[in-house]
């Protein structure tokens, strides 16, 4: 699948934003401190920027509001509805933290749950597609949720350390989620790389009873919408290397940096946690790029010899 820049930015940013908002909703951090207030603003800004980025790949973005109507059947519509609905508790929680300096538990917890639901809907847009076998597994939403939680606790540990309270707790939980997320992702990758294709040229043409089916001629000499959108192959050559780099940058580096923050503490903690967030975000972008670039669409059985 073609890794559209706007969708990678959207899933990465909104994942981090929803993760942070969900952790803030738990009320672990001291809402009266400046850094936690800034964290609330940051979470909302990341979510909003992610959602705006997602509209960039639309052919007719002026009609985007229509996407809120089909929540009965469409995961994309559900995601849109949840994204907008979750702004209500998130904004209320942020308002109380920023203006009154206190945590509103009910709105906070509602926000946490709705953040989780929104990320789940995002993941199910991909996870529900049978035509893309790599995505069509329960591991897809699990990975998205774990990555969001890991990113949320990583960002929360920055806010915690700079506010002077609960930094080590957030960092410790972040380590657990980062490790869990990459274990889940590793399982996802193992499944992808050992997958027997669900659809084959034989089943796609129904000619398997005669023999082995091979493409002789494409419909047209040049590329078309389908081959550009579904036939992206650039990453496959380096997929293994890139996935290792993603684990190093998004998994190993943040864990080591957070351990430094926990053990060293003091003035070293904040820069270490900030650096951990950057490494994690970089790893996540690579992971998201591979998520699209490595996924093979069933229609390519009609286009590949």
């Amino acid at each position: 699948m073609h890794p559209a820049f706007s969708i990678i930015v959207f899933t990465t940013l909104s994942g981090l934003g929803y993760g942070l908002a969900a952790v803030l909703g738990l009320g672990l951090l001291d809402a009266s401190t400046l850094s936690v207030k800034l964290a609330h603003i940051g979470a909302l800004a990341m979510i909003a920027a992610g959602l705006l980025a997602s509209t960039l790949h639309l052919g007719n973005p002026q009609r985007a509001w229509r996407a809120l109507s089909q929540w009965r059947s469409s995961w994309l519509s559900r995601e849109g509805v949840m994204a907008i609905a979750s702004f209500v508790p998130l904004t209320v929680t942020a308002w109380f933290a920023i203006v009154e300096g206190r945590h509103l538990a009910v709105a906070g917890l509602a926000g946490t749950l709705m953040c989780g639901a929104t990320v789940y809907c995002t993941a199910m847009i991909y996870g529900s597609l049978r035509s893309i076998q790599a995505w069509n597994t329960g591991l897809t939403p699990l990975c998205y949720l774990l990555f969001a939680a890991a990113g949320g606790f990583l960002l929360a540990s920055v806010a915690g350390y700079s506010s002077g309270s609960r930094g080590p707790v957030c960092a410790a939980i972040a380590i657990l989620f980062v490790v869990a997320a990459w274990i889940c992702k590793q399982k996802w990758w193992t499944r992808l790389r050992t997958l027997a294709p669900f659809s084959t040229p034989e089943s796609a043409t129904g000619l398997g009873h005669i023999g082995h089916v091979r493409l002789f001629e494409r419909p047209h000499v040049n590329e078309n919408y389908l081959t550009r959108e579904m036939g992206f192959k650039v990453a496959r050559k380096h997929a293994l290397k890139l996935s290792r780099l993603a684990i190093l940058s998004g998994g190993l580096a943040p864990v080591l940096l957070l351990l430094v923050a926990i053990l060293a503490g003091g003035s070293a903690a904040v820069p270490a946690a900030v650096l951990a967030v950057f490494c994690y975000a970089l790893g996540l972008v690579v992971e998201r790029w591979l998520f699209f670039a490595e996924a093979r669409h069933a229609v390519m059985t009609y286009y590949e010899g």
């Binding site: 519509s77 035509s131 089943s203 005669i210």
Partner: protein, 255 residues
């Protein structure tokens, strides 16, 4: 509403494509583009139409496959390889994933005849329906930013201003080999249903669980090359010669 019709549609309009007959001439591709660029909804645009990297929106494309029997790489050894021309357009699936994934309600399946259509005034061009279709039946028009797909020429088949013979999809009307057939596959007594029953018409990618309406008729078993070669060998001998030719044959033998 992008939920599928709750009951099976009374009619299941669709195509039956005969892979034994298709000669791969692409006439249906062109007539489809011609009819649909001026008909229902936005035109089917081309990008860089007179340049080196030309591409465009098509609702019907012909692939060509080579089918090689096990051990049949050498001609005559174990059956023969054959070329099969393979027209592919929307299959108007009964469990159409392209309909249910649509977030706006633009994509829908008609309850009366099962045709899957796009209401282009509601389409936001997100492309998710094209992702959900295993067959590649949907293509985003890059000029209009909306999803295009086969309408089964809904603006022809019910169009009483056309002569009755023309009230079939453009691809069916134009096919010079008569490889494409249109009809109601929900009616067991229709011509297309009988054709499917007699010839063993089948679904593409049944494992995708989409239950396509369109059916494909398999190529008929082919006469082996060796059988056709018999007459060529006969031409080398004179066993069957009669009358004057038998006399001439005898005379020439004696010389």
């Amino acid at each position: 509403m992008t939920s599928l019709p709750s009951l099976p549609t009374p009619k299941k309009l669709g195509l039956v494509i005969d892979l034994d007959v298709c000669v791969g001439c692409h006439a249906c591709v062109i007539s489809c583009k011609e009819w649909n660029t001026g008909g229902y909804g936005a035109a089917l645009s081309d990008q860089d139409p007179y340049g080196a990297d030309v591409s465009g929106t098509f609702l019907n494309r012909i692939h060509t496959f080579e089918v090689v029997p096990e051990g049949g790489q050498v001609i005559g050894e174990a059956g023969e390889a054959r070329i099969v021309h393979f027209p592919k357009s929307c299959l108007h699936c009964e469990d159409a994933p392209c309909v249910t994934v649509c977030p706006t309600g633009a994509s829908y399946k008609r309850a009366e005849d099962g045709i899957v259509l796009v209401d282009e005034s509601k389409c936001i061009g997100c492309g998710l329906c094209a992702w959900s279709c295993a067959y590649g039946a949907r293509e985003m028009d890059l000029a209009a930013g909306v999803m295009k797909k086969c309408t089964l020429c809904v603006d022809r088949i019910y169009n009483e201003t056309l002569k009755e013979v023309d009230r079939v999809p453009s691809c069916v009307r134009t096919c010079p080999a008569n490889a494409r057939h249109f009809g109601d596959l929900g009616d067991a007594s229709s011509e297309v249903s009988r054709m499917v029953a007699e010839r063993g018409g089948y679904d593409l990618m049944p494992e995708q669980g989409t239950r396509p309406t369109n059916k494909y008729l398999p190529p008929r078993p082919r006469k082996p090359l060796a059988a056709s070669a018999g007459s060529a060998v006969l031409a080398e001998n004179t066993h069957d010669a009669k009358g004057f030719f038998a006399w001439l044959d005898g005379m020439l033998d004696r010389i």
